[in-house]
């Protein structure tokens, strides 16, 4: 009867309310269980492999390898201790979850793993080639984007733990390739690209400036050349090979090179260009937050410089690679890919080849991605030719066996107290498409030589 039906309706409402809550609860538990489990004492992470299935990180047990076995990639791979945040494991910790609600915790048989593109052997070879000097080296396949080598010194084997962290050398816990450094003359590659974009190949090659060891610029600043005797009159090819500072200062100051165009192309290349005006400095700071290149969650410093006036001392030095210019080795390496590809588009590097979940199913595979068009194909071809000629003329013997396009650099740091040696370039070989960047810090204090490091690494990669 109706009255009893109404009574049943009240009960149904109560029960349906409860069942709906139960449904929500189940869905929530199912969704959030991987988060809950991270607080469990029994929870262990999965493994990280290099491209040859060498284990670089294992959450379930200690890797049974000699001491310092992982010292070449320690601060890139990292671990789950929370000490190093900008590392592969810390940024991708959820992908290593050896847990699913369906199968529970699988510490021993879990197949959760990250297969990286790194070549541990080549990393190790490059690491050893530094002979204990500080610095970093990065190399990747500019066709596919696989990051093959990325090591920096000083470094740490995460298996040691972090005892005595206060006595560690600064930079131990960060992969230096991801952070800004003074690019030195390798910056001239960007300036050549800029000039090529603005003037075109014919006009740029038609320009020549003379170098007498120094150059007094339009605002009265003195731009020194590393060769105090001067290089005489040079065209762009010779200037790149000589790495002549006065040439580039005059090029930047040239009336055919308007500041707006330079700023525009630098910005397109990825520089964080600040105008350097003091009035609205705060405003600028707020507007231009630091941007990063994202390599599978790892934040990589982009590049920044200050451009105020083409005749300005700081601006000219900025375009030569000193002053306020900063760029990360990864970024320098990526520009090389845009030249090497001949397309004017950078190949975006990646570190994770594929990810498997706890049951061994592949959940993620890497895809090659490219940047926006940074500069025209013609510019790419011309700059590639300049760098190849430089490589053929000067590095044939120091980096034997490879057809390399290369630009060297020397960066003064610590107010000129130390000089870092840099080399950026790429191997122009369809079957061995490697772009690289090496930074050797305080080059006069070590027997290590940047060219040798590159050679060792390339030999190891091509073995």
């Amino acid at each position: 009867m109706k009255s009893i039906k109404r009574c049943q309706l009240v009960m149904t409402l109560f029960l349906l309310g409860f069942l709906a809550g139960l449904g929500v609860l189940t869905a929530r538990i199912y969704k959030d269980a991987p988060f809950y489990i991270t607080h469990s004492d029994n929870y262990r992470l999965g493994r990280v492999y290099d491209r040859n299935k060498d284990v670089l990180f294992d959450g379930t047990k200690k890797i049974d390898k000699p001491d310092n076995y992982l010292i070449d990639v320690g601060n890139l791979i990292g671990d789950d201790k929370g000490q190093m945040e900008n590392t592969l494991v810390a940024q991708n910790i959820d992908k290593l979850s050896n847990y699913s609600f369906n199968s529970g915790i699988e510490n021993k048989n879990g197949k959760a793993a990250i297969y990286t593109t790194l070549d541990h052997t080549a990393n190790r070879a490059a690491y050893d080639a530094f002979m204990g000097a500080d610095g970093c080296i990065a190399a990747y396949n500019y066709k596919t984007g696989e990051l093959l080598v990325c090591t920096s010194l000083p470094n740490i084997d995460p298996r040691h733990g972090y005892g005595g962290i206060e006595n560690m050398k600064s930079g131990t816990l960060m992969s230096k390739a991801m952070y800004g450094t003074v690019p030195g003359s390798t910056q001239k590659v960007s300036t050549v690209i800029t000039a090529m974009e603005i003037l075109g190949q014919d006009e740029l090659f038609a320009k020549s400036y003379s170098c007498g060891g120094y150059y007094m610029n339009g605002t009265g600043g003195k731009i020194d050349c590393h060769n105090s005797w001067g290089h005489g009159t040079q065209n762009i090819q010779q200037a790149v090979e000589n790495s002549c500072n006065p040439f580039f200062a005059q090029l930047v100051e040239d009336g055919d090179m308007p500041l707006e165009s330079i700023v525009e192309i630098y910005t397109r290349l990825g520089y964080n260009v600040s105008s350097g005006e003091t009035d609205n400095e705060e405003e600028n700071d707020e507007e231009k937050e630091q941007e990063y290149i994202d390599i599978d969650g790892i934040q990589c410093f982009k590049a920044s410089t200050t451009l105020t006036d083409t005749a300005d001392f700081a601006t000219q030095w900025g375009c030569i690679g000193q002053g306020e210019t900063l760029a990360s080795p990864i970024q320098l390496m990526m520009w090389q890919s845009a030249i090497a590809n001949g397309t004017g588009k950078m190949t975006m590097p990646y570190l994770i080849e594929k990810v498997t979940d706890v049951e061994g199913n592949v959940t993620e595979t890497a895809k090659t991605e490219y940047s926006e068009q940074l500069f025209s194909k013609e510019t790419a071809a011309s700059v590639k030719q300049i760098l190849l000629t430089n490589g053929a003329n000067h590095y044939q013997y120091s980096i034997p066996g490879y057809k390399v396009a290369i630009k060297s650099g020397t960066a003064q740091v610590k107010h000129g107290a130390e000089e870092n040696a840099l080399l950026v370039g790429f191997v122009d070989d369809k079957n061995f498409p490697i772009a690289f960047c090496v930074v050797l810090e305080n080059k006069y204090s070590t027997p290590a030589v940047a060219e040798n490091i590159v050679t060792t690494m390339l030999n190891s990669l091509s073995r």
Binding site: F14, G17, I29, Y36, S40
Partner: protein, 430 residues
């Protein structure tokens, strides 16, 4: 014939469920000696058998709820006996038998609505006595009376009494008096007063978890009254009641002590070792258990306070799997949903069923959702599954009410026939 067949079928399946659970304990359980498993199995199966044999002597009309009660109680026995390693939980076994007995008492008390409606003053007096007991013995910040060998939670016993008070007052709706322009039913005022006093007492005791249960019982009673024939709840009354509730809720939130507010808006994961210790551990253990659990007795949650009562859902989830825990809860839902299949036939019984349903769902919601951090965590027991004598006995009483609602008492109609004929003849002569 079909009755006997379905009775037999029920027996077989109830035993089969217990058997399969015991098999799981045997194959996956954490026990040091096989004798523990054998002892537990013997007790469970024996209780099943004894109950099956004596059940036909109860002579009521429906047995499905009885079967379900026995099924849940022995499941609870198996759960509780496995926490932290298989053993025989004697205390829980005794409370289970107490629950079965109290279910019988509840059935006997409540099935005759004519009789109990004449006794409603005793129900009110019973609630009053319990309140006095709370006032005198528990103290302002506790809900327990410690008798040395056991603890009693008097507020639990108010729940079935309040359900009964609501049910017995429902027929009074037709006796309305006009006072100052309002249609007043004295019973409604009394029930409202009782509920208000009970809730105030719970507030005083800081037994905040019980308040929603009482409120739910009252709300179900309120709904039933609106639905009751000729209740005539005018819009005026509804608006007044609604606004009073709203004001009370606002005042409650404003006056709520800081720790209640902290509970309402706490992020348990930011500091898992302090505020939300139990909830975080509960959620972690549910996550570790997954769908199918770690195996009886193999969990870690039994090291956390109130593992056998307040966060029992998580403990079962960890050891038996979320699937099994959810199904256990569904069995609890099913037992209070039985009046939907086999409906009561009078409004008194219907109100009783709705009250029991409200009390059970509210308790289950507070316990399960609270321990899983969906709502603030309050120390409420899960009916029949949690350990605890008071909760077990009162839950048994309430299930007794459901059985009573399905098997109301009627005298043998054959006697009446003679009388009727006699009277009819008498009338015709007039």
């Amino acid at each position: 014939m079909s009755g006997a067949l379905s009775y037999l079928l029920s027996c077989i399946f109830v035993v089969a469920v217990h058997g399969s659970m015991l098999l799981n304990v045997y194959s996956n359980g954490n026990y040091s000696s096989i004798n523990d498993v054998i002892g537990l199995s013997a007790a469970v199966i024996l209780l099943d058998a004894v109950y099956f044999i004596i059940m036909p002597f109860f002579k009521h009309r429906t047995y499905a709820v009885d079967f379900m009660l026995l099924l849940i109680l022995n499941m609870s026995m198996i759960f509780q006996s496995c926490f932290g390693g298989v053993h025989f939980d004697t205390k829980h076994f005794i409370t289970i038998i107490a629950a079965l007995v109290s279910c019988r008492i509840g059935y006997m008390l409540c099935r005759n609505h004519r009789w109990i409606q004449t006794k409603k003053k005793f129900i009110w007096a019973g609630i009053g006595i319990l309140l006095v007991v709370i006032l005198l013995f528990t103290g302002s910040r506790s809900m327990w009376i410690d008798l040395g060998f056991m603890s009693i939670q008097p507020s639990e016993f108010i729940k079935p009494l309040l359900v009964l008070a609501c049910a017995t007052s429902i027929a009074e709706q037709q006796n309305r008096k006009k006072v100052w322009g309002f249609n007043v039913v004295y019973d409604n005022l009394i029930i409202f007063g009782i509920t208000a006093v009970v809730i105030l007492f719970q507030w005083w005791c800081r037994d905040l978890g019980s308040i929603p249960t009482f409120a739910a019982i009252y709300a179900s009673c309120f709904f039933m009254r609106i639905c009751y024939p000729k209740a005539k709840f005018s819009k005026k009354t509804l608006i007044i009641a609604g606004s009073v509730l709203a004001v009370a809720a606002i005042i409650g939130i404003i006056l709520a002590p800081a720790y209640v507010k902290a509970r309402l808006f706490a992020d348990i994961w930011s500091n898992p070792d302090e505020d939300g210790y139990q909830q975080t551990k509960a959620l972690i253990s549910i996550a570790e258990g997954g769908w199918f659990g770690k195996g009886p007795g193999k969990g870690f949650l039994h090291e956390v306070f109130a593992y056998e009562s307040d966060i029992v859902f998580a403990t079962i989830s960890e050891e038996w799997g979320l699937l099994f825990a959810l199904m256990t809860v569904l069995m609890l839902v099913l037992i209070v949903a039985m009046p939907l299949v086999n409906p009561p036939r009078s409004y008194y019984h219907g109100t009783m069923c709705a009250g029991v349903c409200a009390a059970f769902t509210m308790q289950m919601a507070l316990n399960i959702f609270g321990s899983c951090n969906m709502i603030p965590f309050t120390g409420v027991t899960l009916p029949f599954i949690s350990a605890g004598g008071s909760s077990m006995v009162t839950s048994g009483l309430m299930i007794g009410m459901i059985i009573a609602a399905q098997s109301p008492v009627f005298a043998n109609p054959t006697n009446k026939k003679n009388k009727k004929k006699h009277k009819q003849q008498k009338r015709r002569t007039v």
